[in-house]
């Protein structure tokens, strides 16, 4: 039986990144929990050993039970009866196994029953789970909502809800409505207060992943008469109180094990989470950033499976007297798949480390005041996390779709049949570039880091690092790409027209992404020779992509923009 952690040495490479030392020390507050909790680590090595061993459990479950159940779950799907969502049988087994293995509430503090893991190993678990069953990753990954309760709810709420998540109760984030998808400012679900102050929710939510969960985070309009985001607050709804029913579940193209629900709130009792009016502008923004990192991990997991399925088939399938992998056209496809996989994974973990760094300082700031250096470091990493999250989600999900497409292509006619996993993962992959903000919206979030220079500064910091002499040629290419990127950005911003910048935004964000991922793979190759191949293949791909975008921007006359208007 395969273990999806131990069979993939790339994961351990990313887990053992040098920045982990600092992350672990901050997370464990100098290992002070060791006196209070019998499962807390004694030192850095002990903590890293814990992550390694727990990820081995994740890999064991994923390589066995969860991967084995994936096809059955896809066929059976979730269903709806008597106002409740019903999981496929395999999903029920998967959740039960994850609970027994203690894999819920992984990043929550020990005082609430969590494992107190940094975000990085938690995201690695999500990467592994997604490879086994993409739809199940949603249900399991929604434990991340506990992070929002931990950050913004009061102590009493934390003490009541977080231990339940750590015990295995599931969560959902109820944001979308029929008329409020990407535009959450239009949310209409009504929150009113009884005379005794109890909050009641009334209205409808749509497209809610795992909408029949035990504990919901709900975005609702608490300020009567308001129309924008400042009238929205965040609420916690406890299924034990009743009042929310599932009217129907969507019949989706993929991730069929994950029930996507339409919810009807009828006078549902709820409690306010955090402050009124901050629901969208503060809490949902934080929630979405966490969720986007989760989708980036989910995308990498799908890419991994796509690559492995394609590779295995290409080695096995013989045509014209030899395995098809021996044909350059097929071999190239597979090498590029691996390069995109490795590039998006490198970006995923760089981003998760940055998220860890700033969130840890934020958390420590609740206990004591930070030094000036610490505050500066927090600000630095917060900005970088904000810049890399939409890039990792946007480009990672696009790469995952490209890999799923190529996986079918490698399978040829067989890939079009229902007999191979590739058709399932092709359908599962498709949502990753849509939910938690489409790729187009990730570009909207990312573009300010093009115009304000965050990406450029990050690229310069990578360029300033030392690399082995044999990697110099790749580094030179990246330097040349950077020049093209800087020039393209200057060309676009010189026009000084928002509509024009928006039009060119995706091209510029992708150029930055190509260069950043190019450097990250260079750094991986510097630490570990096994990445030289992907660093080289990706470098060639990035070179062509950057040149294409640079060319488009250089040759575009802003007056031609009118032809692109509908």
């Amino acid at each position: 039986m395969a273990n999806f952690y131990t069979d993939n040495p790339d994961l351990k490479h990313h887990l053992n990144h040098p920045l982990m030392q600092k992350i672990v020390e901050l997370k464990e507050r100098n290992f002070s929990d060791a006196e209070k909790f019998d499962y807390a680590p004694r030192n850095f090595e002990d903590a890293m050993d814990n992550y390694d061993k727990v990820l081995e459990i994740v890999g064991y479950l994923c390589g066995g039970l969860i991967a084995d159940n994936a096809e059955g779950v896809d066929h059976q799907g979730a269903s709806c009866a008597d106002g409740r969502a019903i999981y496929a049988d395999g999903t029920v087994e998967n959740l039960d196994a994850c609970r027994k293995a203690g894999l819920m509430g992984m990043s929550m503090p020990r005082r609430f029953g969590g494992l107190n893991f940094p975000i990085t190993p938690y995201i690695m678990a999500a990467d592994i789970v997604s490879r086994a069953d993409t739809g199940f990753e949603n249900l399991w990954g929604l434990q991340d909502c506990a992070e929002t309760i931990y950050e913004f709810a009061d102590e009493d709420q934390k003490a009541r809800f977080i231990p339940r998540v750590c015990e295995g109760e599931t969560m959902s984030m109820d944001l979308t409505e029929p008329d409020a998808g990407s535009d959450l400012q239009s949310v209409m679900l009504k929150a009113t207060q009884d005379e005794d102050g109890t909050w009641r929710l009334n209205g409808v939510k749509r497209f809610i992943t795992n909408g029949d969960s035990d504990i919901h985070l709900v975005l609702a309009r608490s300020e009567e008469g308001t129309k924008d985001g400042r009238g929205l607050s965040m609420f916690i709804y406890d299924k034990r109180d009743g009042g929310v029913n599932v009217r129907r579940i969507e019949n989706k193209m993929g991730i069929k094990g994950s029930p996507t629900c339409e919810l009807v709130y009828k006078n549902a009792k709820a409690e306010l989470c955090g402050n009124r009016r901050l629901g969208l502008i503060k809490y949902v923004m934080a929630l979405m950033n966490g969720a986007r990192l989760g989708i980036a991990a989910q995308s990498v997991g799908v890419s991994e499976l796509a690559y492995r399925e394609a590779l295995a088939y290409a080695k096995d399938r013989k045509q014209f007297g030899k395995a098809i992998i021996e044909f350059p056209a097929v071999a190239e496809m597979i090498s590029v798949m691996k390069a995109k996989l490795d590039a998006s994974r490198a970006l995923l973990y760089e981003c998760s480390r940055f998220v860890d760094m700033y969130k840890l300082y934020e958390d420590i700031a609740k206990e004591r005041s930070l030094t000036a250096d610490e505050r500066a470091e927090m600000k630095h990493y917060s900005k970088l996390a904000d810049a890399l999250t939409p890039m990792a989600k946007g480009m990672g999900s696009e790469y995952c779709n490209q890999n799923a497409y190529d996986c079918i292509q490698v399978h040829g006619g067989s890939g079009f049949m229902k007999d191979y996993a590739c058709e399932r993962l092709y359908r599962d992959a498709r949502i990753t570039s849509i939910y938690e903000g489409t790729t187009q919206l990730q570009v909207v979030a990312a573009i300010r880091h093009v115009t304000t220079g965050t990406y450029k500064a990050l690229i310069e910091s990578y360029a300033a690092q030392e690399y082995k002499p044999e990697l110099q040629a790749l580094k030179d290419n990246l330097a040349a790409m950077t020049e093209q990127y800087v020039k393209a950005v200057e060309t676009v911003t010189a026009v000084n027209d928002t509509a024009y910048t928006d039009f060119m935004a995706r091209r510029m964000v992708e150029m930055a992404g190509n260069i950043i991922m190019g450097y990250l793979l260079l750094s991986d190759a510097n630490r570990n020779e096994s990445f030289v191949k992907s660093a080289t293949v990706y470098n060639k791909l990035a070179q062509a992509e950057v040149a294409k975008h640079a060319d488009f921007i250089a040759n575009f006359n802003p007056a031609q923009l009118d032809f692109y208007k509908a």
């Binding site: 019998d38 499962y39 814990n50 459990i57 064991y60 293995a101």
Partner: protein, 290 residues
């Protein structure tokens, strides 16, 4: 009702994935070439024990194994999955035991353990495939035995209800406690390791392992009683030297032959029931199937 549950388990060479170097020239198992694993059906038994514990809070599951000192590996594995404690019965004098000597030694250990309500074990181990040790222990302890168990349906009023998987169907039986139940591979798979338990118990060691640790690590283990896996000797369980190990084993291996499967002939059958039935009978008679 809280119960005291013993799970008998064995560390075995993994005979499921044998390579060409699995057997030595003399026909005995080349243990060095095969990884040592938790006997699969003993994991099924452990799961049944843990389910009894889930149903009866306050119950205690203790793993008992006889083998080399390194068998503490399966004790840790069981503890990661939910067992409370473990004992390794290990002694040079116990080496070379057949099923009779093994069951005697383990029965002595159970007597030493004392107060127990139920003993569970796998139907058989994948190295010897005898399925004799569990039943023999029951005989030596003078308590009932239920074999081929697929599921323990419940424990109530001092009786256990067990569904057995037999060749031609299932049978549900009730037995008084204490008793021995041997569990089939068709029973539920064992639950995975638990993350918190793994982090808590990963430094659990037996005395032989502890002696190899640094002074600092020894002090760490000493300060935490739950990290100490017990090791019992033959003398500790009051075993009669004549009845243990090679001395207590009447079974002698006379010869071992390598079986080489070769296709000698092919036969063509017509599509009629009689010919197929005759073939099946023939294959059963010559032990090819069944």
């Amino acid at each position: 009702m809280s119960l005291n549950i013993i799970v008998l388990a064995k560390q075995v060479p993994d005979t499921r994935n044998v390579g060409k170097d699995a057997m030595k020239e003399d026909g005995t198992i080349n243990r060095a070439a095969l990884p040592a694993i938790f006997n699969p059906e003993d994991l099924n038994a452990l799961e049944q024990a843990l389910r009894i514990k889930d149903e009866n809070p306050g119950s205690k599951v203790t793993l008992l194994t006889m083998g080399l000192p390194r068998a503490s590996e399966i004790i840790r594995e069981a503890i990661f999955r939910g067992a409370d404690a473990g004992i390794v019965l290990t002694d040079r004098a116990l080496g070379g035991a057949d099923t009779l000597a093994t069951s005697y030694s383990l029965a002595q250990a159970v007597k030493k353990f004392g107060n127990y309500d139920i003993i569970l074990g796998g139907r058989q181990a994948i190295d010897g495939d005898t399925a004799q040790v569990g039943p023999q222990i029951a005989e030596k302890l003078g308590i009932p035995q239920v074999t081929y168990a697929e599921e323990i349906l419940g424990i109530k009023d001092g009786k256990v209800t067990v569904r057995r998987r037999l060749e031609h169907g299932v049978e549900t039986v009730v037995a008084p406690l204490p008793c021995v139940v041997t569990v089939n591979g068709s029973a539920a798979d064992c639950r995975p390791r638990n993350a918190r338990r793994l982090m808590k118990y990963k430094y659990a060691v037996s005395p032989s392992e502890k002696s190899k640790l640094s002074a600092e690590d020894q002090a760490f283990v000493d300060a935490r009683p739950y990290l100490n896996i017990e090791e019992w000797s033959a003398a500790y369980v009051d075993a009669d030297p004549e009845q243990i190990g090679l001395a207590g084993s009447p079974t002698k291996v006379k010869a071992i032959e390598n079986v080489v499967f070769t296709a000698k002939e092919s036969r063509r059958l017509d599509n009629d029931d009689q010919q197929i039935e005759d073939l099946i009978k023939e294959l059963i008679t010559n032990h090819t199937i069944g």
